[in-house]
Structures are given as structure tokens and as C-alpha cells.
């Protein structure tokens, strides 16, 4: 650390800085005086050398655009030296800035040829630009901090869900092919342990059986035989219904009742089924 310091100081060789340092403590302007034990705390309050420089400039009511390098460098070096003297760990950025200030100062002191001036930028220009830019964002940060924000200026207003709330359940999709595939698996398994009958019963009859049972349930389990038929279905439909009723009878799911000869025939669900 001290090596870096002596390096940066050598850059300022032409300046009587050692002399200034000797006078520093006595000459410090009152508004800038900070007790040494508060220095570390002070430094913590700055966001780096640009922030610190801005503070010095503002304290002296200088204008950034007219950066008085000598004054500022003087002040800056005083603090840096003081802190070095007190063995404070200074962030490298502060030392780099010290070097930069010293360099600007020395360049300003060099005599220049008038013809070359147009091409050669003022050595302060870059630092001024950086100070200005930093100050803009420093202020932007303050404004951002003053915007009303969550958890400090406003809080989320929420309501809890009523007791009867239940999340929407998205049910799985099933493809028809999955059904037939499942059935093929069953058949494959069944083949292994079943004896084979040839049976060519068409689905329509089984479906109609379901429908008649359903229809009967809706009519308290009792329906006129003719009521089971849908004449508009045509001959084929009537035959399917008839076969379904016979099949249901055979499986003892329904009874066919006729109280007297040529009387009304009824279909009844077995055993008081309703």
C-alpha cells in the first residue's frame, strides 16, 4: 500500500507537496475539519473517490465545470495523507484518483504552444465529465430511493380465499387410441389363460342394454314394453332393442311382465331396482 502511495507521489515531484503536507493540519479550513477518529467513518460515508471529490467541490462552493485542480488536489491529498498516516486501509480507487489529480495538475503547469491547444484537450475535461456523470446518477439514486415503494410506503392488500375454494383441477387428456391400446393389452393377457368361445355379439346390443337399464332407472324401474322402443330408429334399431331386452332378461337384469293375456307388457328392473 505504501509503495503505491510513494509511486503516486513521485508523479507530483515538481510540486511542493511535502511542504503542504507539513502545514496541512493547521491550514485545514474549518468546515472541512474532521477529527481523525471520525475520518474512517467519514470515508465509509463516501461511495468512492468521485463521491469524495464531489463533496470537496461542494464544500468549497466550487463549480465542477471550472474544476480548480490545485485547490481540490490539495484538499484531496491532505485527507489521503492523513489517512495514510493513521494507517487506514485505503481502497485502491482513492490512490488511483490521487495519481490522476497529480497528473492533471502537472499537465496544466506545463507550458503549451498555442497552435497545439486546439488538438490537445484540457486535461481536466475527462475528470469533469466523470464527476458530472457520477453526480447525475448519485442524484438519480436519491430520487429512486424517494419513490414510494413496496414494504415501506405501501403494502400489498390481499384477501384470503373463501373456505369453499378448491383449485381448478385440469384432468388428464385421454386419446381414443390409448383406450384401444389398453384393450389390446387385456386381450393379449386374457388369451393366455382363457378358453375360447366364438362370440359375435355386436356392441350395439351391449350399448342398448345399458340404455334400457338407464331408461328403466329413470322410470322407477318399470316401463311399458313399447316404451323401450324408439320407432324412429327404424327396423334395425327395433331389432337391436328387442335383442337387448332379451339379453337383459337372460342375464336376469330385467323381467318381462304380462298380467293378463293380450294385456300390456311391461319391462321391470329386477328386485325392486329403482
Amino acid at each position: 500500500m505504501s509503495d503505491i502511495i510513494s509511486d503516486s507521489l513521485t508523479i507530483q515531484q515538481p510540486l511542493p507537496l511535502a511542504f503542504v503536507r507539513g502545514e496541512a493540519v493547521l491550514d485545514r479550513p474549518e468546515d472541512l475539519y474532521i477529527p481523525p477518529d471520525a475520518l474512517e467513518i467519514l470515508l465509509d460515508a463516501f461511495e468512492g473517490p468521485l463521491d469524495f471529490l464531489l463533496y470537496l467541490i461542494r464544500k468549497h462552493k466550487f463549480d465542477i465545470v471550472d474544476l480548480p485542480v490545485n485547490e481540490i488536489t490539495l484538499q484531496y491529498m491532505e485527507y489521503i495523507d492523513l489517512m495514510q498516516g493513521l494507517n487506514f486501509e485505503l481502497a485502491a480507487e482513492y490512490l488511483v484518483m490521487a495519481a490522476m489529480l497529480a497528473e492533471i495538475k502537472s499537465r496544466l503547469l506545463l507550458p503549451r504552444h498555442t497552435e497545439a491547444e486546439d488538438e490537445e484537450a484540457d486535461p481536466r475535461a475527462e475528470l469533469i465529465r466523470r464527476l458530472q456523470e457520477y453526480e447525475v446518477f448519485k442524484q438519480a439514486a436519491t430520487e429512486l430511493d424517494s419513490l414510494p415503494r413496496d414494504e415501506r410506503d405501501h403494502f400489498n392488500a390481499t384477501a384470503v380465499l373463501a373456505d369453499n375454494f378448491a383449485p381448478l383441477l385440469i384432468l388428464p387428456d385421454v386419446d381414443l387410441a390409448e383406450l384401444t391400446l389398453a384393450l389390446k393389452d387385456i386381450v393379449k393377457r386374457a388369451k393366455d389363460f382363457q378358453h375360447h368361445h366364438i362370440k359375435r355379439e355386436h356392441l350395439s346390443t351391449r350399448e342398448r342394454m345399458s340404455r334400457i337399464l338407464d331408461l328403466l332407472s329413470q322410470h322407477n324401474g318399470y316401463l311399458a314394453f313399447s316404451g323401450c322402443f324408439e320407432v324412429t330408429e327404424g327396423r334395425e334399431g327395433v331389432v337391436v332393442t328387442f335383442l337387448a331386452i332379451l339379453e337383459l332378461t337372460k342375464e336376469k337384469l330385467v323381467e318381462i311382465i304380462q298380467v293378463e293375456a293380450y294385456g300390456q307388457i311391461h319391462v321391470k328392473l329386477k328386485a325392486g331396482e329403482a
Binding site: A166, V187, H197, K199, H202, S210, L213, L216, L269
Partner: protein
């Protein structure tokens, strides 16, 4: 200190506190937090809460007092719609569910026992519940055998879901027809008709 607070401010503060708190707030909670230092009488606070309840009576959320305090709760009538804010995807159906559904579709009306006989494994109540809850199958009657087991058949919703007009639009399964799955030995020959 006992600062003044007018009725409007009091109501806004109580309202905002109950909305913002992450748990129900009792009158005591309110007094010891947001109202601390205002010296609001018990009666005045109760009146404020009553007034708030009235204000929210016709709204989408209502102020309710529960055992642990006051909180805003969404109107129960809206729950079905609010449910769509948090959809939950249920897992895919198991092989057992699909096989059971297939058997009911192709062999209806069929009892659970018959399904078990054909599948060679037992069919859990959970499987039947899944299919019944989905409204794809229903009990259309009971078989007159000991225990009177329910006879399952597919529903109109089942046909609608699979885009079918009739069951006979189900893909034909030649292998399935060639093998007898009918353990009850009720072989009928109706083949000529269709």
C-alpha cells in the same frame, strides 16, 4: 400521547391494516399496533368494524370475523371462478384406469367383478371413483346376483369427450371379438344383424 384520529382516517387505517396483515387481526391486535397512541375506545373501534362490514357487504370480498380476528375473505359464490387462477394439473391416468374404461366402453353394462375377472387383477375403488368423477361412466343398474353389484356403462359425456355419436363408432377390435371375455357364459349370437 393520545393523538386525534377522525372517523374517516380510523376506518381507512383499520381497513388497510386488515388487508395488509398476513394473519387475522383482533381488536386487541389493532389497538396494540396501528392504533397504538390514538386512544380509540373499544366502542368506537367496534363501530368502525361494523361500518366496514356493511361497506363491503355487496363487494367481491367481505370483512369476516373469525376466532382469531378480522380478515377479508373472497365471496364464497365466486370460488368456482377464482379457482381458475390456480389450476392444478392432475397426473395422467394409470394403465389400470384406461383398461377399466376400455372394458366398460366395449363390454357395457359390466360389473366391477367382471372387469376384475377379465383383467385378472382387482379394480380398486379409486379407479372406479376416477371414472365416475369424470362423468365418463355411471351405474345403470344392478346385476341380480349375490351382492347385487352395480352395472357400469359409459355416459353421453364419454361419447362427447371422444367425439363419438354412438358407441359403435368406437374402433372395432377384431381380436377382442374373437376371444370370449364373457365369463358368465352368456353367449348370444347376434352377429348376423350388424
Amino acid at each position: 400521547m393520545a393523538d386525534k384520529i377522525n372517523d374517516v382516517q380510523l376506518m381507512q387505517l383499520v381497513e388497510a391494516a386488515i388487508f395488509a396483515a398476513d394473519k387475522p387481526l383482533s381488536s386487541d391486535d389493532l389497538q396494540s399496533t396501528v392504533l397504538d397512541g390514538f386512544n380509540v375506545s373499544k366502542k368506537r373501534l367496534t363501530d368502525t368494524l361494523t361500518r366496514l362490514m356493511q361497506d363491503y357487504a355487496g363487494r367481491g370480498v367481505t370483512l369476516t370475523e373469525t376466532a382469531s380476528g378480522y380478515r377479508f375473505i373472497t365471496k364464497p359464490e365466486l370460488s368456482d371462478y377464482l379457482a381458475r387462477l390456480w389450476p392444478e394439473r392432475s397426473p395422467r391416468y394409470s394403465r389400470a384406469v384406461l383398461e377399466t374404461l376400455a372394458l366398460i366402453a366395449y363390454r357395457q353394462p359390466i360389473t366391477r367383478g367382471e372387469i376384475e375377472d377379465i383383467r385378472g387383477v382387482s379394480v380398486s375403488s379409486q379407479i372406479m371413483r376416477t371414472l365416475l368423477d369424470r362423468n365418463w361412466v355411471k351405474v345403470v343398474g344392478h346385476k341380480e346376483v349375490p351382492g347385487r353389484p352395480g352395472l357400469y356403462a359409459t355416459t353421453k359425456e364419454f361419447l362427447d369427450y371422444f367425439g363419438l355419436k354412438h358407441l359403435n363408432q368406437l374402433p372395432p377390435l377384431p381380436e377382442f371379438q374373437a376371444i370370449s371375455l364373457d365369463l358368465a357364459d352368456t353367449v348370444v349370437t347376434t352377429g348376423e344383424l350388424h
